[in-house]
């Protein structure tokens, strides 16, 4: 697909704006009626707010250690206890929201930013473009992800930014492949065939019928992608790579807790819960969005 076609896609979108707005409004109304989706929205909002206002919420700084109070169980003073150097686990979880969401959202953003355009190009343009994009996808799929991340971190060193890069470099494949597969499958569905028979141009079909239909699986992929990235980071911590201390990330906290949690359960349970809540929040939210869009689309 050439850039001119892309440009025309964009101009089409602009022309279609009024229609879209009703579509969006419709979806929003549906979304508002779905209790689980609202709960998801609330959870995700709370997470985001926590991340933004961590400085005001956390009772202690995330890096203030008091070895004299190391490894305390949850108490009134320390709601989630203290870790191996006497840092307040609750405060670290709060600040960890910021770090872990940065990792999760950062990796996912990288995945979508690379994956969506490439997937669209491959699925819509076909031909040589598709061929090359698919070979590129294959190159990255064919490399063991953990090994590639380790190689990259070994070459460029650890740290938050490099961890996001090392994980993001392979995270876009799912989005790209999913989008392309969906487009291929949709191309031949009844409603597209009908549109084609009615004389719609292929760009118009792409924008009006194909694109909206690919949103749902992408949202699902994204909602799973965020906790997956948080996890992959935990895996790197398990291997001793990844984000440096004292910067708190949930994944790292879980990884560290491995040698402590048999006695000091609070070190493992709370970060795991935090990841689970994030996961649930994004899942409910994503499912809600999908349901809302789907129903509106299929009208």
């Amino acid at each position: 697909m050439s850039t001119s076609t892309l440009a025309s896609v964009q101009s089409r979108q602009l022309q279609d704006l009024p229609k879209q707005r009703t579509l969006l409004g419709d979806a929003a109304r549906r979304f508002a009626r779905n209790k689980l989706a609202l709960l998801g929205l609330a959870m995700v909002s709370i997470l985001l707010l926590t991340a933004i206002f961590a400085d005001f919420i956390a009772p202690y700084p995330y890096d203030a250690a008091n070895p004299a109070k190391a490894l305390q169980f949850p108490s009134r003073e320390h709601w989630m206890g203290t870790d191996e150097v006497g840092r307040d686990v609750y405060s670290r979880i709060i600040y960890g929201t910021r770090i872990s969401l940065t990792v999760g959202v950062g990796v996912m953003a990288m995945a979508l930013l690379i994956g969506i355009p490439l997937g669209l190009l491959a699925g819509l343009a076909g031909g040589a473009v598709d061929y090359f994009i698919m070979r590129l996808v294959e190159v990255f799929t064919a490399v063991p992800a953990l090994m590639l991340a380790l190689l990259l971190l070994s070459v460029f060193g650890g740290g938050l930014f490099n961890v996001i890069l090392a994980l993001g470099v392979v995270a876009w494949l799912d989005a790209c492949r999913l989008l392309r597969a969906q487009l291929l499958s949709l191309r031949e569905r009844d409603f597209v065939l009908a549109a084609r028979m009615l004389g719609a141009t292929s760009t118009r079909i792409a924008v009006r019928h194909l694109l909206p239909n690919t949103v749902a699986p992408l949202i699902v992929a994204a909602t799973i992608g965020i906790p997956t990235a948080i996890f992959a980071e935990a895996g790197l911590s398990f291997l001793g790579l990844g984000i440096n201390d004292p910067i708190p990330s949930w994944g790292k906290m879980v990884g560290n807790a491995l040698s402590y949690m048999r006695v000091y359960w609070h070190l493992g349970v709370f970060p795991t819960l935090a990841i689970a809540i994030t996961m649930l929040g994004f899942t409910f939210f994503g499912d809600g969005l999908r349901d809302a869009f789907d129903a509106s689309m299929n009208r």
């Binding site: 699986p217 990884g255 949690m261």
Partner: protein, 310 residues
Amino acid sequence: MARYLFGRLVGVLVVFFIVSVVIFLLMHAIPGGPYNEDKVPLSAEAKANYMRKYGLDRPLVEQYLLYMGNALRGDFGVPFQSPTETVSGLIARTWPVSASIGGLALLVALPLGLLLGTLAAARQNTWVDYLTSATATLGITVPNFVIAVWLVLLFAVQLKWLPTGGWGQWQHYVMPVAALALAPMALTARYTRTSILEVSRSDYVRTARAKGLSDRQIMVRHVLRNAMIPLLTILAPQIPNLITGTIFIESIFRVPGLGKFFVTSILARDYPMIMALMLLVAVVWSLVYLVTDILYTVVDPRVRLEKSRT
């Protein structure tokens, strides 16, 4: 079909070439080398000798061509980590171990995941749905090494039903397979549920229903079949990972598999092993991918093989 296969083959070779160059460059960009300087640096002479012995003093291009040339002839070199065997020998020794655990995990995860996902979709928004979703969430939210550690404490230390780890008897399979199967099972369940719900709402299912087909017929003939497409897309890339082993599970349960080498090869700067592992995964992956593509045409006849090439 022949044209398609030929095209795939060319594609795979292109991929192999790019992957091998990228990995080769990356691994040589890591500081340090395979020689041992754990306490005090080696003398310059000793280090030079070492490099000469393994051909590491030659230009990178030459090293690359030499390695790939040998690899094409089936000689993948000698692993620095285990110089008494060949890379091929090491892989032949460890891979079946990882593959057996990964394969079993897949055999457990797929049907269970499909079942749970279908149940959840069929009983949407009931306790069945919530329970399966909760299990699925657990599978995706708790890292498998955390689950593995708890399995050991529960079944080996507390209950004494199983050994904490090891290899050779059927008891040694139980915990690694369970820990490994949880995530793909959760993933399968989740995607099955999503796809089924989505397909159920589609036009052709409505048409089928209007035609008077029974729910069961619709489920099998239309819904499940169509739901398989995104599932294939999501699960297929997991397979090479599953059957080539994971250090997280293998190191906790003392499974003598291939998994640890994905990490130790890098830590030990074991260049021949890194290259061999990379090529191995590439081969496994291309086979899986080929099968997936063919499966697409089976579950979704509207996708024809030529389509994905052109």
